[in-house]
Structure formats: C-alpha cells, structure tokens
C-alpha cells in the first residue's frame, strides 16, 4: 500500500506523459459536456420554472427523475445511436472523444436543468409580479432571472461537472477506453485497478479528488465575494 502511494506520488510529480494525457482528456471531455450542459440545461430549467403550460408538473417530475439516470443506460443508448447500424452510424463517432462528450452531455443536462429550475422557480415566485409589470417577455424574464441567480447557479454547474468527471459507465461503453485516445481518469482507474496497477489508479484518483475540491473551494469563495459585492 505504501509503495503504491510512493509510486503514485512520483507519477504526479514527474508529470508522466501517459498520466498527463489521461488527465487532460478527462478535462476536455467533461469540460465540453458541462459547457454544452450549461448552454442547454440552464435555459431549459429556467424556462420550465417560468413557463405556464399544461403538463408542466409532469415535465418537472420527469426531469427530476432523470437526475438519477443510470450512466450505463445512457452509454448503451448512445452506443446504439452511433454504432454502424444505428441512425447516426454514418457519422463514425463511436469510440471517439466526441461520443464521450455526447454521452456525458446527456447525463448532465437533466441534473443541471432540474437544479436550475428549483433555483429560478424560487426567484420567480419573488419577482414575477414586478417582471410582469415591467412588460418583460417570457424569454426576457428567463434571461433576467438567470443573470440575477448567476452565483447560485454555480451549484448547478458544479453538480454537472462532478457528475461528468466521476462518470465511468457511459464513457467506457461509447469511448471504448482506448489507450492514448479515449482513456480518461475514471476508465483508467477502473482498468488499472482490475489489472492490479494501483499506483496509477491512486495518482489519478488523487487528481480527480483534488480537482473536485479545488473547484468547490473556488465556487465557495466566488459566492462569498458575490454576496459581499452585490448583496
């Protein structure tokens, strides 16, 4: 155990090429998924909070339910869609980082949208009359509330990033965990642990944990600053 930790430390300090490639690809894939999730999930969640239509309750329940969407199910669905005989087979994207981004985006959108809906709905309850009296359109209200709640919505973005970074099932299925091409931290940890190569697993796990803690600390500090600056 101690020797594994020592070797992990050496991988971390020597910036081992393979190790760095895995870490960098993880950031790229999860980062892209969270950016896409933010662009789609936040406006959708805010719209759902503000819109008034028949079936809104059912959509909300469905969205909340999809927060717990099993990643392997998403992996299989994306796999079927991108496989050679699937509807998007001609795009040739299976076992590529792009396929991994698609799978992770599908996973994070419901989570980010559901958290956003809750945050925006609370603000809407408080501001609805005033925004209506200002003659704001639905879309204008949505963008205004997203802007006003921007610091609270960091929680939603962080939750999405946490889910994307820690996810293993979907990226394993659609990425294939190909050495030097689609291997990311979580799939590498799963593989190396199965092979008994603990130092790499421990090193990658340390990076994963540190990144998540660092991002949360930054978000906490940003929120604290925002509260002081804007009230």
């Amino acid at each position: 155990m101690l020797s594994a930790l020592g070797e992990a430390l050496s991988l971390l300090t020597q910036f081992d090429a393979e190790f760095m490639r895995i870490v960098w690809l993880s950031f790229k894939v999860s980062g892209a998924a969270v950016v896409l999730g933010t662009l789609i999930g936040l406006p959708f969640g805010a719209w759902l909070a503000v819109a008034d239509f028949r079936g809104r309750g059912a959509v909300t329940v469905l969205l909340n339910g999809l927060m717990g969407l099993p990643s392997v199910v998403v992996g299989v669905l994306v796999y079927l869609a991108l496989s050679r005989s699937g509807p998007l087979g001609t795009w040739g994207m299976l076992f590529t980082p792009t396929a991994m981004v698609i799978a992770q985006t599908i996973l994070v959108i419901p989570l980010m949208a559901a958290l956003t809906r809750q945050i925006i709905e609370d603000a809407w309850r408080e501001y609805a009359n005033e925004l209506r009296s200002l003659h704001f359109s639905l879309w204008h209200s949505v963008t205004t509330l997203l802007y006003d709640c921007r610091f609270s919505l960091l929680v939603s973005v962080l939750a999405g990033l946490g889910r994307a970074m820690s996810e293993v099932g979907a990226v394993m299925i659609v990425g294939g965990n190909i050495y030097g091409y689609t291997r990311v931290m979580t799939t590498a940890i799963a593989l190396e642990t199965a092979k008994g190569d603990l130092p790499l697993s421990v090193a990658l796990g340390s990076v994963l944990l540190s990144v998540v803690l660092l991002l949360n600390a930054m978000a906490y500090l940003l929120r604290r600053w925002a509260m002081r600056r804007y009230g």
């Binding site: 408080e126 501001y127 009359n129 005033e130 925004l131 209506r132 009296s133 200002l134 003659h135 704001f136 359109s137 204008h140 205004t144 802007y147 006003d148 921007r150 610091f151 925002a226 600056r229 804007y230 009230g231």
Partner: protein, 244 residues
C-alpha cells in the same frame, strides 16, 4: 398630455373571488387623465388587489376594465411595489430594467438612466450595488425605474409603508414631480396624512367595496359613508371629529 386615448379608465363591476372568498365585490370606478388618486382603506380591504387588477397582474373573476378608446396600453403603465425587486447589479442597471423592452439605443438608455437617477438623488450611487441601498433609497430607485419609461399611468402600491418620515417626504416629492410630467397616478396607502398631502381625490375601499370616490378635501371634511368616518376617526382621533 402625451396620450389621452387610454383614458378614461373604467372599472366595470370588477370582482375577484379566489377560492370563493370575495376580495373585490363588484367595483365600479372611473379615472380621468390627470391627477393623483389615492386608494385608501384598512388592511385587507382590497387596495392592492384592485391596483394589481388595473396593472393586469391579476385576472378578475368577473367584470372588465375599459381603457379609453385604445384598449390596454401595455408599456405606458408602470408600477412600484411596497418591497421593490432589486436585481444583483448596479443602481444604474436596475434603473434601466424597464427600458429594455422598449428597444432604445444604448446611448438613449444611458442618458435616460442618468437623468432619472439625478432627479431622484441617486446619481452619485449609480455604480454601487442596488442591494446595498437603504430602504428609502431602494424605493427612490424603484420610482426612478418606473419614471424612466415615461409612463402615462403610474401605479404605486403602498410605496412608503416601510419608510421613515424623511424618506416618505422624499418619495412624495418625487411622486409629485412625476405627476407634473404628465403621469396619471393611482396610489394605495393606509396613511391618512399622506393621502391628505398628496392626493386630488380619494377612493375609499372597505371589504372589497368602494364606499366613496370623492375629492380629498371633501373626503376629510364631509365623508359620506359610515365606514369612511369610522376609518378617519380611528386613524386620526386627535385631529378630526364629526358632528353627526
């Protein structure tokens, strides 16, 4: 006047009965194109509901509002609430919120924002966070936001209820100034002193019914309804007594 076609505003048998409870019980009123009307009444009388119905924020259960010859005037109406919404942004940002739906150029928006902030005495705080303002300053900012759109009809829902006398006086000064620029003003309050100082006519509402709609002087010297008399006596027992 800039546009008199939205007047008179006629409220025709307006009722609001959420869950079977009668909040407005058949309101008939008419407002002309000039002056400050104060809607007066005790808590729970239906003042705010009446104002929100006129603003289009509540759909009456029965009855209708007829707007002059042109129908509902949309962006010519502005409203200020007792607890104004202030977004996490600067004072200038909040003052300009109502201008966004009007599609003005950036330069015109900035010029209008600077002008109204100057007139409500908040120009020096333009770049400060709106949420760091005091209660009186917040209400002045809300008035500036409403004033910025040059409303033809300004609705004020107890704008001074939570303010001290000096802040109240400042708000009343601004309201008078907005009126001189051509805005018709409807305001709710349960403060009799304020109603006396600021209004041209009083609408007295009690239990969802309009008991009186008379000029201010007449309301305070010769109230016609028993409810109004009792309200005035109860609120200002040291100042006014009635012979009958």
């Amino acid at each position: 006047m800039a546009d008199a076609t939205m007047f008179p505003i006629v409220l025709d048998d307006l009722r609001y009965t959420p869950g079977g409870r009668s909040v407005l019980a058949g309101v008939n009123l008419q407002f002309g194109d000039d002056g400050i009307s104060v809607i007066l009444g005790p808590n729970g009388a239906g003042k705010s509901v009446l104002l929100r119905s006129i603003a289009g924020l509540l759909k009456p259960s029965h009855g209708r509002i007829v707007w002059g010859s042109n129908g509902y005037p949309g962006t010519q109406i502005a409203m200020v609430f007792q607890q104004p919404m202030l977004l996490r942004g600067s004072v200038a940002f909040n003052a300009g919120l109502g201008l966004k739906p009007l599609g003005l150029s950036r330069e015109r928006m900035q010029a209008r924002i600077a002008e109204v902030l100057e007139r409500v005495g908040l120009a020096h705080r333009m770049h400060d966070s709106a949420r760091h303002l005091s209660g009186g300053e917040r209400q002045r900012l809300a008035l500036a936001r409403a004033w910025a759109v040059k409303p033809r009809l300004l609705l004020l829902d107890e704008p001074t209820a939570a303010l001290d006398p000096s802040a109240t006086e400042e708000v009343e000064r601004i309201v008078r100034e907005i009126r001189t620029e051509g805005a018709r003003i409807l305001m709710t309050t349960h403060n009799l002193g304020q109603a006396m100082r600021i209004s041209d006519d009083i609408v007295f509402i009690d239990a969802g019914l309009i008991r009186e709609h008379t000029p201010t002087t007449r309301f305070f010297t010769r109230p016609q309804s028993k409810e109004a008399r009792l309200f005035i006596q109860g609120e200002l027992p040291w100042r006014i007594t009635f012979d009958d």
